[in-house]
């Protein structure tokens, strides 16, 4: 399974944590684009449920941007 940027944006859209997920940039952190810690929790939970993978607390902190999430999940699911 190869996870693409669009897959993550779709999850962020489901999480309803930003007004326009299509405008999210890859070169900025999600926090800098208005996603707070509670929003991150929600995004990570939806990713866990969608991909059937447990993401431990220690792995969450580095998941600050869309590319970081894409890379992480592709490594975990490889």
């Amino acid at each position: 399974m190869n996870i693409a940027r669009e897959d993550i944006v779709a999850v962020i859209r489901d999480a309803n944590v930003v007004s326009d997920p299509d405008k999210l940039r890859d070169d900025l952190t999600l926090a800098d684009q208005g996603v707070d810690s509670l929003g991150i929790f929600n995004v990570i939970l939806l990713l866990q449920e969608k991909y059937g993978v447990e993401i431990p607390d220690d792995d969450v902190d580095p998941l600050v941007s869309i590319p970081a999430i894409v890379n992480y999940l592709n490594q975990r699911l490889a």
Binding site: N16, D36, S37, L38, F41, N42, I44, L45, Q48, D57, V60
Partner: protein, 307 residues
């Protein structure tokens, strides 16, 4: 059938302004308002303690129902923060209220699921012993164990107490219950060396994963559908938690109120604090109660206005 006849509530006068202190705790007023949801949290007035709040709210219940203290068959207190561990707070409360020596008393040591659990325990205890009048007090004062500089907990928890009158001639009858525990996660929300610790992500994951399904199960167990429910009375963990459950249930958000913005998450008092006003609204005929938190533990039921 045993059910809820009336509820009294008590909130201390003292309030901590979360909007003012949000920035110094690493949050923002917007996050407090829109996500955490508690603009202010109630805090125990100086010189008072758990027994004082329990006494005040129980007396209020007795007075508004013109209830003879000697008529109470059972007195139960839900708390995990009594003034002292021994004796049980319900016995001390029994003494201050002057109840009959024939009145049974015990404490229930549960957190945010405690009220719903206690409704089941106390109503079953009353039925088994042919009791007519029971009083269920919730009084869990988290200001005793919250570190005021901890962003994760100090913007959330507030102090309060409630007293519920349970009788054989209720206004709301109790339906079937559902319970659950995820003990493997219990240390994610715990009091260590006298200070409350909370892993916010773990609590969120637990609630979002287990509670909506439990509510669906208990509704079905009561031979109802979600459309039959007039109001979902959810433990007020935070605005974000309440809205997450509503979204996962696909419920009309108008039916899932968040009412604790001015006093905070009052733990086991959270549900009866809301119910006290919701039961007065005649539109509310069938309501879901769902409590969840410490343990991780959850409990849900349906209550129905008696025709």
């Amino acid at each position: 059938m045993i059910g809820i006849t009336d509820i009294a509530t008590y909130l201390p006068q003292c309030r901590i302004d979360n909007l003012q202190r949000a920035t110094q705790l690493g949050s923002t007023p917007e996050q407090v308002e829109e996500r955490i949801g508690f603009r202010r949290v109630a805090q125990l007035d100086p010189g008072t303690d758990t027994l004082d709040l329990a006494t005040t709210v129980a007396r209020q219940l007795l007075e508004k129902n013109v209830l003879d203290p000697l008529s109470v068959d059972v007195l139960v207190v839900v708390t995990q923060n009594p003034d002292r561990n021994i004796p049980h707070l319900s016995a001390e409360l029994h003494g201050t209220l002057g109840f009959s020596s024939n009145c049974a008393c015990y404490d229930i040591g549960l957190g945010c699921s405690g009220y719903v659990y206690a409704l089941s325990v106390v109503s079953a205890f009353m039925s088994a012993n042919d009791f007519k009048v029971g009083i269920l007090v919730t009084a869990d004062l988290y200001s005793k164990i919250v570190n005021p500089n901890d962003k994760i907990t100090s913007l959330i928890f507030g102090d309060g107490a409630t007293a519920t009158l349970l009788t054989t001639d209720p206004v709301f009858e109790l339906g079937a219950f559902s319970f659950g525990t995820q003990g493997s996660e219990a240390d994610k929300l715990a009091c260590n060396d006298g200070v409350l610790f909370m892993n916010g992500r773990a609590v969120f994951n637990f609630v979002a994963t287990h509670v909506p399904g439990d509510i669906q199960r208990v509704v079905k167990k009561n031979h109802l559908s979600l459309e039959d429910i007039d109001c979902f009375v959810l433990h007020q963990g935070s605005r974000f938690i309440v809205e997450t459950i509503a979204k996962r249930l696909l419920a009309d958000i108008q039916k899932v109120p968040f009412m604790a913005a001015e006093y905070g998450n009052t733990v086991s008092s959270s549900i009866p604090m809301m119910l006290a006003s919701l039961i007065k609204d005649m539109k509310n005929k069938t309501m879901v109660l769902s409590g969840f938190g410490l343990g991780f533990s959850w409990a849900s039921t349906v209550i129905k206005r008696k025709e």
